[in-house]
Symmetry: C2
Subunit: 187 residues, 2 copies
Amino acid sequence: MSRWKPDAQGRLMSAAIELFDEQGYEATTVAEIAERAGLTKRTFFRYFSDKREVLFSGSHELQRVWLEGVAAAPTDATPLAVVAAGLDPVAEMFTERHDFARIRAGIIDANPELQERELIKLQNLAGAIKAALVERGVSPNAAILAAQAGVTVFHVAFAHWVEQDDPTAFRRLMDESLEELRSVTAA
Amino acid sequence: MSRWKPDAQGRLMSAAIELFDEQGYEATTVAEIAERAGLTKRTFFRYFSDKREVLFSGSHELQRVWLEGVAAAPTDATPLAVVAAGLDPVAEMFTERHDFARIRAGIIDANPELQERELIKLQNLAGAIKAALVERGVSPNAAILAAQAGVTVFHVAFAHWVEQDDPTAFRRLMDESLEELRSVTAA
């Protein structure tokens, strides 16, 4: 398991995902996570409101990284190209988190309540991308459609990425998914 | 307020939406809804598990009607054309429910918990359309992308439809939204 951050939050995330993998998400307690990370429960609650938040704490970073990519897109890019400009930094962000993402995906697939939460997070992400597009002068309709399409492309590629072995494949899988979207929507 | 069904369920829905419009969703009780409909609370609970379900009881019908359209699409239609084949019967279904839809949209926009529920219902709809496409031989990736795009097109058009005065405009608004999607995703 890669410990991508030497800080307390990173240690807690690594410890949590190790324990979820070993003994299941439901069976793991906050006390066990803190103990495995060599920290206290008090420290755990400084970073996460509950066990579930360990799984969703990356969503803020995902949104920030995606929006940075959107902000850096050329001014003359089409709405979908602007959205897709976020996929490079997103792929980079996820590459070193392949193990975490794979185990996390297994937990979420098995839990309808977590699936709903995931869905809402993705919807919030689409809303933020839409707002960024509108700020760039894209019409609200085109912005919703492009943002939603981009998030679906991401989601489809993500599901493939966690199921295969190469952590570096995410960018390619997103390009394939984007290409498929273009083919599906072609008149 | 149009009472599109003479049966108990339709009367309860009409009574509920009238009361929601007059005095607000939060302030309305099941007892008041039943009374306005000339029925008992007991009858209300035969049709709806709670007040909230009045707002979402149409989602099964939406899904059924959309999937009937999908099933009737020509075998050689592209995945998005198959999805779009559901939009005709869907527009027809909604035309006589413009008042209900408009009042309902106002309630949902003001309530984050209802928005989440709406989101999950739309996601379930996309999942059902995806499954129907896969059954028709469409690849799972193309099926997710087309189904999701179709539901977004519907959702965007719906938001415009409830905000304008012509109940018969829904089909045209969906076509415009579909056209915009094609333009946004064109390479």
